[in-house]
Symmetry: C2
């Protein structure tokens, strides 16, 4: 009674109340809700009945204090507004949830220090893992998290942290494919719509495309836009498509850029895709499938990334690099379909 007076007005039953009603010990109700604990069918029955009657829910906050598995996983995300990030966030929250894990999301803004602040938050909530989808946390911060017993999972981030898990995509095959597709479409002058943003995955795609092109005897004209969004693609179009010796095949670092480039090619230059210009993108965002674009692109393995995250969070395996493949998605922005 007097204990009740101290409580905030929040009517959720506690394990103690359930125990009282069921006529068993506190430990018994705790065990009933712990997978694999030893309770007799009869006790379990009584507890379950009482729990149902009192509308009891294990307090995960309290459980998390002593039980690592019921601690949340922190997702450091930004740009949720952009299709690629939305797709990734959707897949990861879905898989985490299916595995019974709770996801806390931290919105990492452009601010360079916010990745650090975000990881500190994750520490405060004793997250069992932090998934870095955006930003580049300082090395020292990653160490702090790992020392605190947390796993740190970097998705498409640069490879500096030895103790963190890295999920990276294997872009080599995709970039070879891209050049092959353009060659088979009869392209003679290639171009690359690149970015000066400096994200590791962007830089890697850029480098590998250029290498693959060189191997096939191409010397692509390159334009580096400031970022990798729609406007950057349009900007690339205006830089690459003006003047003589217009390219007839261009690889865009992202689908968003490809959409901007295609629109500009059509509206500013009166070009038809793919007859005048072959275009390939990257990410396979929903817009790539829109009739206005019909973009041939490469799909990020969103589901596989999500499943890998869950696996890392659940396992005790030492930190390592996880490489995942992409898959080509043919549409109409490149002449001719896939080879048989």
């Amino acid at each position: 009674m007097s204990a009740n007076l101290r409580k905030q007005p929040q009517g959720l039953a506690s394990a103690a109340e359930v125990a009282r009603l069921a006529g068993v010990s506190r430990s018994a109700v705790s065990r009933t809700f712990t997978d694999g604990a030893s309770v007799s069918a009869k006790t379990r029955e009584k507890v379950l009945a009482a729990a149902k009657e009192l509308n009891y829910h294990v307090n995960h906050l309290a459980r998390g204090i002593s039980k690592a598995e019921s601690r949340p996983v922190c997702l450091l995300a930004s740009n949720m507004t952009k299709p690629y990030h939305g797709l990734l966030l959707d897949a990861i929250t879905r898989e985490l949830q299916a595995a019974g894990r709770m996801a806390m999301v931290i919105n990492v803004t452009a601010d360079p220090e916010s990745a650090q602040a975000a990881l500190e938050q994750a520490l405060s909530y004793r997250a069992s893992a932090s998934v870095v989808m955006s930003g580049t946390p300082p090395e020292a911060m990653v160490s702090t998290c790992i020392d605190a017993g947390q796993r740190v999972i970097l998705i498409n981030r640069s490879g500096g942290h030895a103790d963190a898990d890295h999920i990276r995509i294997d872009y080599q095959a995709a970039m070879d494919d891209a050049v092959f597709m353009l060659k088979r479409a009869g392209c003679e002058r290639l171009a690359l719509a690149g970015s000066a943003k400096g994200t590791p995955s962007l830089m890697e795609r850029e480098r590998l495309f250029l290498e693959a092109a060189a191997k096939q005897g191409y010397a692509p004209r390159t334009f580096k836009a400031p970022n990798s969004n729609y406007d950057d693609g349009a900007q690339a179009a205006r830089a690459l498509l003006a003047g003589r010796d217009r390219p007839d095949g261009v690889f865009c670092l992202t689908d968003l850029m490809a959409c901007g480039l295609i629109d500009s090619a059509r509206l500013d230059f009166g070009l038809k895709v793919p007859t005048d210009l072959n275009v390939i993108g990257f990410d396979n965002i929903p817009q790539a499938a829109w009739a206005g674009y019909g973009l041939t692109t490469f799909a990020q393995p969103y589901e596989e990334i999500a499943r890998t995250v869950v696996r890392i969070v659940a396992d005790e395996t030492p930190a390592q690099v996880h490489s995942l493949p992409t898959a080509a998605q043919w549409r109409q922005s490149v002449l001719f379909g896939p080879a048989d």
Copy 2:
């Protein structure tokens, strides 16, 4: 020492250790990290120094057991992949974070029972509030949450729950505007690209547009697509633009539909927007600003919604309906600009 053996290997310091190092009581360190608690500058100093040395972070999980304000807020989201949902999720997580609150996200899939399961999860984590962005939780579930001392905030959901806070958008003015814009552009035959999905906000826009049109003497042809995405817009185009008496102005329930309709109008019917066809959308998603669309639309008040959410979470005010306005966003898909 023996206590340490029981701990899982997680090196984060506790308040007790900080107290020991600083030579003060446990209460003192607790107070140092509680806003507005009474600690002398000297004690605070000592505690802060010790905390820094041990890399101490208040355990929010534990704090949440006794302190309601540091409990997480649950976000029930789905379709994060769609621009509108991404925009909303981004704004809400950003504002919540700025207010020092943690956001847990629950991915509500299409499954009708998952909204209920999601709210039960929120209960387990003792969320101080649940924000329902998708799905329609059963009345009984909402009551359970509220009885548990949790606030339930429904965004653009139907108005059945008396004890929940409702954030709704005032579509009346927008729909009057939409008809006015089309009339001023000289439209003679209006159409509505509607949806059979049955979401409250969709249904309300539909009804209000039709009413506004009737007031101006229009009798819009209506097509109800199954959902409210890109493909649904394309489907609407094929239904509305074929045959004689083609409409010259159409309102699409969502920007996504408008994009699909514009693409189909151009590619399937060879129509030019806005000279052959005036188009208005709703939501003001990033794609609406793309050069290929240049869509005139209405902006959901994403930021205002987010701020309202944090205000509700922080306050003790009784549940109520919060009405927010939209703002017209002129672009090129309707003839003539805004009135002065």
